[in-house]
């Protein structure tokens, strides 16, 4: 398969196939007259009315803020905790059972307690909830990435008189970065999931809240519009993340290709 054919196929898979599916959906919903499955055109009109942009500020912006803040806290905490844990076998010995325990708990199980503990169903509770669950992929990947660093590289830095902090900054962090970023990507999709969850169960704003209100009032078109929006949010966040990753880790792709070839 030539490169050109591949590119065409890729564009087709990315755009044409979804369009065809949507067309099929429109056709089916037009004939089905189902209450639960409104016409695609109705959903799209609803989508435009709600999200472009009359309720964008009241519901989408708060959701994005929660994702952004929760994700940022999780990444910072995951890296800060992951580096010492990756460097010290002793620290891992004590910490790993606790990490494995908390990470095994499904997010809904902790939702009630966050509301009680933080005395709130506001932003603080949502950000804390999102951050807690986004922490684990970053944390575990940071630990793994730091553990996997070539000892020759660390010896080189030591022999040139780089102190521990300087070694972390110049060697440990950049060497572990590809794995940290892979963890961040998992965390980002988890952030969308936990955001919707937190907003659905306890909120007065956000796309998850819109989902709940629409369901409770049997308004199917707004509910579907919210579902479409959530899907798009997750998809676009991931695309943005991959673009940033390609720029930041260009060396990693080249290096891997050179090692493999």
């Amino acid at each position: 398969m030539s490169r050109r054919t591949y590119t065409l196929l890729k564009i087709g898979a990315e755009i044409a196939v979804p369009l065809a599916l949507l067309a099929g959906w429109q056709l089916w919903t037009t004939h089905a007259h189902s209450v639960k499955f409104p016409r695609l055109s109705t959903i799209l009109v609803q989508f435009k009315d709600m999200w472009l942009f009359s309720e964008f500020g009241t519901h989408v912006v708060p959701s994005l803020e929660r994702i952004g803040l929760g994700f940022a806290i999780a990444v910072a905490a995951g890296i800060l905790l992951g580096i010492p844990l990756g460097l010290s076998r002793w620290a891992r010995l004590w910490a790993m059972p606790h990490i494995e325990y908390w990470r095994a708990i499904p997010p809904p199980a902790l939702l009630p307690i966050t509301i009680l503990l933080l005395h709130s169903i506001g932003n603080r509770q949502k950000v804390a909830f999102i951050a807690f669950f986004c922490l684990f992929p970053v944390l575990l990947n940071t630990i793994d990435g730091v553990r996997g660093i070539d000892p020759t590289l660390v010896d080189t830095a030591r022999s040139y008189g780089l102190g521990p902090l300087e070694r972390i900054r110049r060697i440990v962090l950049p060497a572990a970065l590809p794995q940290i970023v892979a963890g961040m990507r998992n965390s980002l999709s988890l952030a969308v999931i936990t955001m919707v969850l937190a907003e659905y169960f306890s909120s007065t704003s956000g796309v998850g809240y819109v989902l709940l209100i629409s369901k409770n009032t049997f308004q199917m078109a707004p509910m579907w519009a919210a579902i479409v929006l959530i899907g798009l949010l997750g998809y676009l966040l991931n695309v943005l993340f991959i673009l940033a990753e390609r720029r930041a880790l260009a060396w990693h792709r080249g290096w891997r290709a050179s090692v493999a070839g």
Binding site: D150, P151, T152, L153, D155, T156, A157, R158, S159, Y160, G161, L162, G163, E166, R170, I171, P174, A175, L177, W251, H252, G254, W255, S258, V259
Partner: protein
């Protein structure tokens, strides 16, 4: 000046103890080029790590210009065999060479001067902005050498630096290190398992025994300088010295018992 006084290294203790290095003493004079050669698995890398202050010896001490080594000394720069693993794949050639300079108190101009000078000495100024993995093996090792030079050490420690490049590149790198040593006027301690190399390069060869390692013999090499890959290697003295060192090592290998070899080999290279 570099002095090794009764260096010994034992891994673990009790019945399981492995005596990697028995007792090694020798001195490298200021500006001297000394090669260390020994049978495979004799703990050459361990010895070099002790000298570089990366690994504390169990017995004895290393002195650099009279000062006892208890951490990596500023006067020493170490060049590893595995260039692919000692260079940072995420950093350009320039930033790799900059690594040892970043925490030194130097002006920005002084830093870039050192980087450019040292890359010039190894003939790589055209590759400042390349990544190491875009270069050939021999070029990568030259980047590692440039980085060591930029650090401005009085002594260069080299751990089988040319063991993973092809024969022709190896010859070029040998001549490069001889030239650089004259230009920078530095002391070189060069560990190798290649007998030709160990006779071609230095002023003296330290021949080691098998593990627990001791100094078998120190052989002076008074071949004329500058050395030349063709002329020097055709000299009868070269052949004589080479034969002498070869016989010393061969005898060592033959006297080594299989049991000893089995316990010794895993510790030689992998000790961190």
């Amino acid at each position: 000046m570099l002095e090794l006084k009764g260096i010994g290294k034992t891994y673990s203790s009790g019945a399981k103890a492995t005596h990697a290095i028995g007792d090694i003493s020798f001195t490298v004079a200021e500006g001297e080029f000394v090669c260390v050669v020994g049978p495979s698995g004799c703990g050459k890398t361990t010895l070099l790590k002790c000298i570089a202050g990366l690994l504390p010896p169990t017995r004895g001490e290393v002195l650099v210009r009279g000062r006892r080594v208890d951490g990596p000394p500023e006067e020493l720069a170490l060049v590893f065999q595995e260039y692919g693993r000692s260079l940072m794949p995420w950093a350009s050639v320039r930033n790799n060479v900059l690594l040892p300079l970043r925490h030194k108190r130097l002006s920005r101009a002084e830093r870039s001067r050192l980087v450019e000078e040292s890359l010039d000495a190894v003939g790589l100024t055209a590759f400042l902005d390349h990544y190491p993995w875009q270069l050939s093996g021999g070029m990568q090792q030259r980047v590692a050498i440039a980085r060591a030079l930029a650090y401005q050490p009085t002594t260069l420690l080299m751990d089988e630096p040319f063991a993973s490049v092809d024969a022709q590149t190896r010859g070029d790198l040998e001549d490069l290190i001889l030239r650089v040593r004259d230009e920078y006027d530095i002391t070189v301690l060069f560990v190798t398992h290649d007998i030709d190399e160990s006779v071609y390069l230095p002023d003296r060869v330290v021949v080691l025994t098998h593990s627990p390692t001791e100094v078998k013999e120190i052989v002076p090499v008074d071949l004329p300088r500058p050395r030349d890959q063709l002329v020097t290697k055709e000299l009868p003295e070269f052949a004589h010295l080479r034969g002498h060192v070869y016989r010393l090592i061969k005898r060592e290998q033959e006297s080594e018992t299989p049991a000893l070899e089995a316990t010794d080999v895993p510790h030689a290279g992998t000790a961190v």
